[in-house]
Amino acid sequence: MPIIAKQCGIKFDPPSVILIYENEHTDKLRKRVMPVRNFSEYSDCSRAAERLKHHPHHAHYLDSVSLEQLVRLYTVLRDHLRGLSVEESLREQCHSHTHEEDLNKFSDEELKRRKAQMDVLFELNRRRRDDPDFVYDLEVEFPENSSREPCSWDQSDEEF
């Protein structure tokens, strides 16, 4: 049965990876729930993701879901078990590997993938026109430059 993966996410209770997919023959949308077992806040997310990706029952369905995405989902689950919110987890995931990345040097594929990762946080924080508190021309004043503390990015050897 050829399947097209549409969306893949994580559920905290009971912990499971959820896949929304389409059966190409019937055009019907289906939901597959893949329980997460033997996983704690100390587990290795990469290994857990790999195990699921190659699981005899699930591998076929997860063919087009990237390992990176599964690792991300497991990390959200692990951070949840550690008491972090989804937002905090995504923020930390962003932070841990983005600071020194020079995306100008990435291939098209890699750049696309990184942009998709960034879009997760963008969509989470996004205010849309139909949100009740939407303001088109939202102006916020921040403290003057002189009253802010210096940023460490300015302290390195290279000068502007």
Partner: protein, 218 residues
């Protein structure tokens, strides 16, 4: 590329000499959110023109300033920035520049100096606004001072394309600065370009069918 560009009506840059037309360019590394900022300013449903051959996206915008209609062309890169440099025609006749970095990625801040250097090679005098994007990802950055803008004497904005903070303000300020620059322009490069254009016209009488690539930098 230079010669080809002139044959595309959308990229005919002479129009930017008219009083009521300005060109504003966006600069900055890949994935700092340049297009997201444009889309937030122009809002949903807006369809820009993709000129993929030139790795360029054009956003046309009409507004009224001092009860006069003003046409603004925003030029956005579509991957060209990956080569760490833009084609000279990208800068040609620009009246203002919006320079963006991502507060989540230091390298995009460090690269500002390279973008700024290239900008000033082509447009020594145009107003340039420095934009720190994605503050929604970590609001603590707004308590920090980023010295690049201060050192260069450029206006600085904390913005978020996601929640909309200060996006419209940046674009409004950029349009106003572009217009006032245009009004009071004494940019050396403008003068040189005009001289070269005149020179081209005179030259044409003698060699009508020769392609003049060198004189014009567009």
């Amino acid at each position: 590329m230079a010669g080809d560009m002139k044959r595309i009506p959308e990229l005919e840059q002479e129009k930017y000499d008219a009083d009521e037309q300005v060109k504003i360019i966006c600069l900055g590394d890949s994935a700092v959110g340049k297009s997201k900022l444009m889309e937030r300013f122009l809002m949903d449903g807006y369809r820009p023109q993709q000129l993929s051959t030139y790795a360029l996206t054009l956003y046309k915008y009409t507004t009224t300033i001092n009860s006069k209609p003003v046409l603004v062309d925003f030029w956005d890169t579509a991957g060209q920035e990956r080569f760490q440099s833009m084609h000279p025609s990208y800068y040609h006749k620009a009246h203002a520049c919006i320079m963006v970095f991502d507060v989540q990625r230091k390298v995009t801040y460090k690269n500002l100096s390279n973008w700024y250097k290239e900008l000033r090679e082509y447009r020594p005098e145009i107003p340039c606004l420095v934009v720190a994007n994605k503050i929604d990802a970590d609001m603590r950055v707004t308590q920090k001072s980023f010295n690049f803008a201060k050192k260069q004497g450029l206006p600085f904005y904390f913005v978020s394309a996601a929640d909309g903070t200060n996006v419209v303000k940046v674009f409004k300020d950029a349009i106003n600065m572009a217009l006032s620059y245009k009004k009071n322009s004494s940019d050396f490069m403008d003068v040189v370009m005009r001289e070269l254009e005149n020179f081209d016209l005179e030259g044409k009488e003698e060699s009508a069918d020769e392609e003049e690539e060198e004189g014009k930098a567009d």
